[in-house]
Point group: C2
Chain length 343, copies 2
């Protein structure tokens, strides 16, 4: 039976993760869950970010369910680099999966898009590019200062994430993959991505393909978000594009993500895209839908596609039945989702 590490984290993380667990228990009884304290609370108490012993213990789990990390009391970048990004790198979570869906019953800020019309998934590379941490500076704090950041891209890293995107497209109805890069400016990395895309594409003759520059896709996410099915792109482009995708599908309040090691050699992390929202923490009014959808991704990854689908369907029912703008109670939503999903 699956062993899940639970990192509730900070702010509303605790509240929403509790609902995600409730829903997992409802559809897949018997999952073992172990809690780990990581995030701003641990850091502020002990100065630790990801103790080695915790890292080793996490490695023994099948997946990590994460609530939210971060608090204004911690200097920016510390927990992001030391915890969130570190997990992606040490556990080789090279597929950063971000579904973008305009759920029936919800509405987009885009006037021309109707509920149900947006349904794509971004496969963002998670272990390379500008996130490699390869950079430095010279002559700091002098007029001669120079600072660099290097984007590192390997055929190994690019090929495996592109292949994952094609495999996902093959399981979807529209079977289309859009490669997004900036080949007209980033000639070397762009060429590696484009040539690798061509090579992998030959293995998937039934999948339609297209290429778009990142700036063009950023625009099309506003003007024609309906056109996408599976999008594959590099780490930084994926970071930006998925936030636009979340915005046009109603905000990051509903957006789920998985940082996935597809081979399951290491645990994958599943977490809502939203932050810890300290302003509403502890009030029981955070919407747990993004955390629950992350749990749905987790279930699928662990080989429980039916349970995953039932959770997603429960969310669909929940969202379709909400009055526009109505307040939510975290616990009640969790209860309803658990009941729907296990019915």
């Amino acid at each position: 039976m699956a062993r899940i590490a639970v990192v509730a984290g900070d702010g509303i993380g605790t509240e929403v993760v509790a609902q995600a667990r409730k829903v997992i228990d409802a559809v897949l009884p018997g999952v073992t869950a172990t809690e780990y304290e990581l995030g701003a609370s641990l850091y502020n108490r002990t100065g630790e970010i990801l103790p080695e012993s915790v890292q080793s213990e996490l490695a023994e789990h099948d997946a990590i369910l994460l609530g939210a990390i971060g608090d204004p009391s911690v200097p920016p970048g510390v927990l992001e680099r030391g915890l969130l990004l570190k997990l992606r790198f040490v556990f080789d979570q090279y597929v950063n999966l971000r579904p973008a869906r305009l759920w029936p019953g919800t509405s987009s800020p885009l006037a021309h898009v109707k509920a149900g019309e947006i349904d794509f998934v971004v496969v963002r590379e998670g272990t390379e590019g500008l996130y490699a941490g390869a950079g430095g500076s010279l002559h700091r704090d002098t007029p001669a200062e120079v600072a660099t950041e290097e984007s590192l891209n390997t055929r190994h890293g690019v090929e495996r994430v592109i292949r994952d995107a094609f495999a996902r497209a093959q399981r979807r109805e529209r079977r289309k993959v859009t490669l997004v890069h900036k080949t007209n400016v980033l000639a070397h990395a762009g060429s590696l991505w484009a040539r690798t895309f061509e090579a992998v594409r030959a293995e998937f003759p039934d999948v339609e393909t297209e290429y778009q520059h990142v700036d063009a896709m950023a625009m099309f996410l506003v003007t024609q978000p309906q056109r996408y099915d599976v999008v594959v792109t590099d780490n930084l482009f994926g970071d930006i594009l998925t936030d636009i995708a979340a915005a046009v599908t109603g905000g990051i309040g509903l957006a789920a993500s998985g940082s996935i090691n597809p081979e399951r050699r290491f645990p994958s992390t599943f977490e809502p895209v939203h932050g810890s929202a300290p302003d509403i923490a502890g009030k029981g009014i955070a919407d747990p839908v993004a955390a629950v959808l992350s749990a749905s991704l987790l279930l699928d990854h662990l080989g429980h596609p039916d349970e995953s689908r039932r959770v997603a369907e429960a969310v669909a029912v929940e969202l379709a039945s909400r009055a526009p703008g109505a307040a939510v109670r975290t616990e009640e939503v969790g209860d309803r989702l658990a009941a729907h999903a296990s019915a």
Copy 2:
């Protein structure tokens, strides 16, 4: 009297540039304009992209008015890197200026935003970052291939563009500058940008400031584009953000840009953001508004703020009087704008 080099370029470039010239002539009679053939037509005819003799002649002008460059017949990247980006670098056009305005009479794809509510300008760095062309690859076309792209950032380059942004904010009503970067991941370049921003800010105590990560701003451009006044950011972030900005203000059909050397040691380039649109070229139906707004930026840069404003006002009248979705005739729009601006 000002000497302008005119590069009509490809596709609809010729048609829209003709209207921009018409409007300039109307508000500032006596400007000398010399035409240069550059772009896909020259490249396909002679294989040349930016002949050295042309580059030297361009250097003798006060500004370059550019229509549009590019055609499907030219391999992607060739004209972008060899001409458009090259001009930015050789003429040290470090301020890439991109106003974003939701004009009265036009409408945004965003349901919650009303005409007149969006009015900001992005000051995008134009000569550094990932556009430096510093990168390479090893073991090409083998499983061991690695490709790099390096973002180069200097205190010199960062400081001058940030100072320009503050100076622009000081001349605007809201007096607010938003710095956009990704300091939580790009630690070295991000720190240089953030520290330099702090230092320059001390010179402008009457300007309000804020910082946002690039992914957050990408989202806010959809949810709250009204909040921005002046945005300063690096070359690649600016590329992506300005395309979103164009999308939420009604599309790149209306977006103008300037690649500016503020000291006027070298000519600055002014061009519509839209491309050469080969599909509608030669039909007389391209909207010249973006080209004319670029001419307005040109006039301001050359020290003619009143003429610049009159051109912008003519555009405002034109857009306010258009029936939604009505077709435009390039020549007629140009005639109306010239008449309004010189009235």
